[in-house]
């Protein structure tokens, strides 16, 4: 078994202070390995999205630690954390979060721009990624001209374009119909596995379960079980 790419160890996160304080994560520990698709499930308010934010260096834990490639992420310098996200993470969001003023290949190219790939090489790579998600013919289309499923596939292409080691997806099928949702998660899981990427998917969607290698269920900020999906 390969070494974990990403690990959370005894992570605690509390929102607010005093009597109004809300403990979102209460000693959560987990790990995810290359080529593995980990599903984070649980009821609303169980801490799934908070855990995703902590794993993605978007939210520092109050205590506990996050390790990437077995090295602790101790810095809370926003600039350093941004750089870390840029170099090692890809994100897929529930609402796609595409740029409506950019067409499909430009939406992918902007992620490449952030890591310094520009000009013709960025366009070529962005179009290649769109081919991989089956949207080569829509490269010039704007998000407003595309279906939800197509938009999510562009978002997946954007997340994978920079070849990150970790993909974090927040409810990637929630805004999609059944067929589009299955197509999107299938695509994400397939591409990630073929590239040996570690994937964490927050989801409520039971149709997604079959695409995960492992499920971690959260309740009230704690992991209640961690069965294998497949």
């Amino acid at each position: 078994m390969s070494a974990p790419v990403l690990e959370a160890q005894s992570v605690h996160v509390t929102y607010g202070a005093g009597p109004a304080a809300c403990r979102a994560l209460n000693g959560v520990s987990l790990e995810v390995r290359s080529g593995e698709v980990l599903l984070l499930m649980g009821p609303s308010g169980s801490g799934k999205t908070t855990l995703l934010q902590v794993l993605g260096c978007l939210l520092p834990p109050d205590s506990g630690s996050i390790r990437l490639f077995d090295r602790p992420l101790q810095s809370r310098n926003p600039k350093a954390l941004s750089r870390l996200r840029l170099e090692h993470y890809g994100f897929v969001f529930q609402s796609y979060n595409l740029f409506p003023t950019l067409n499909a290949w430009e939406n992918v190219a902007i992620a490449l721009d952030l890591i310094g790939i520009r000009g013709a090489s960025a366009e070529t790579r962005a179009r290649d990624m769109l081919s991989e998600v089956g949207l080569a013919a829509k490269a010039e289309s704007y998000p407003g001209e595309l279906s939800g499923g197509q938009k999510q596939r562009i978002a997946i292409a954007r997340a994978l374009a920079t070849e990150p080691q970790v993909i974090l997806a927040d409810e990637p099928t929630a805004a999609l119909d059944a067929a589009s949702g299955q197509a999107a998660i299938s695509l994400l899981a397939g591409l990630a596995r073929s590239r040996g990427r570690a994937v964490v998917v927050v989801t409520h969607d039971p149709r997604v379960i079959s695409y995960g290698d492992r499920i971690v269920t959260l309740e009230d900020g704690r992991i209640v079980d961690a069965p294998r999906a497949n």
Partner: protein
Amino acid sequence: MSVTTSDPALEIQAAGRGSGLRQGMIPRLAWRNLTRDRVRLTVTLVGIVFAVVLMGVQLGLLYGFATTASSLIAHADADLWVSAPQVQDVDQTVPIEKSNRYKVLGIAGVAAAENYLVHFADWRRPDGGATSVLVVGFDLETGIGGPWNLVAGRIEDLRQSDAVIIDELYRDKLGITTLGQSVEINGHRARVVGFTRGIRTFTQSPYVFTKFSNAQTYAGLDADQTSYVLVSLARRADRDAVAARLQAALPDLDVIKAHDFARRTQFFWLFTTGAGVAVLTGAGLGLIIGIVITGQTLYATTMDRLSEFATLRAIGAPASYLHRVILTQAIIAAGIGYGIGITVAEALVFLGHNGSAALLLPHWMALALGLVTVMMCSSAALLSVRKINGLQPTSVFR
């Protein structure tokens, strides 16, 4: 903080870091953000154009006023001016004795000295109407202090008795339709023998050039009186040293360098009369209006794109990347607004070249206005930058 890995997938990122000099997506994103809402872009551009035109016209007027107020000094080609004490501007004079010229000529370093007369007088038009003029009397032999930009007649024509030259801008005001027409100046006959072009006067009393002796008559001065002695220095003479020697020799008079006298005259007309403050206030208002309108519309554009900026932050864009997007939006808007605004301002300058108020927009001022426009739009973008700085990347998660 960095995490090292042997993963070959990072090769693409390493390759990217080597090609960071190209412009990338920022100009494209900034342009699309700006042009997505055409109405808002139009409002932004109208604000910038209005500011540029207002600043351009006001500063052009200020520069025109300053140039006009001191034009006699600038074109007299004298190094030093000798005048009565405390003369504040070239147009409002107090007579001094002509004989001072000889004292000036006796000072080491002086190459030439000529009497020069500037004095208000009443001009009686051929149709009987009256207006105030400024009679300018100069020495015909040297030509120092004489008219320039002659478009009709010759300087030599002023050798004729009672001959005067006026500017064509003031022909209507002075009631002159053709050369050779006769008028009266302070009850003495005068005949127009030439026209200049573009010699404006700040006081709106047109300059009337004539030979020195005629000017004395028109001004009602005694034969031994003048307004100034204009001094030309010998080659390699030290201006400050000669000025000091002259001042010592003429303790009851003022000796002032031409450049300083021009500044003094400009300051007098622009800042003791309030004219300069008025036009500077107008220019300042233009700047403020530009900042407010541009700032408001850029801020609204930023607010509309807030979720996109948050997405960029979430996927790892540094704050500086977002700042550059916003700044590029501001600079694009500034560039377009400036282009339109300066064209309008230049058109107004062209249309106003026959007016009695000089509206001058030299290249250096147009360029400076461009810089001011970029700075105006950049400072207007600060509000958006401030908003972006407070943006939480976690806000992209529902």
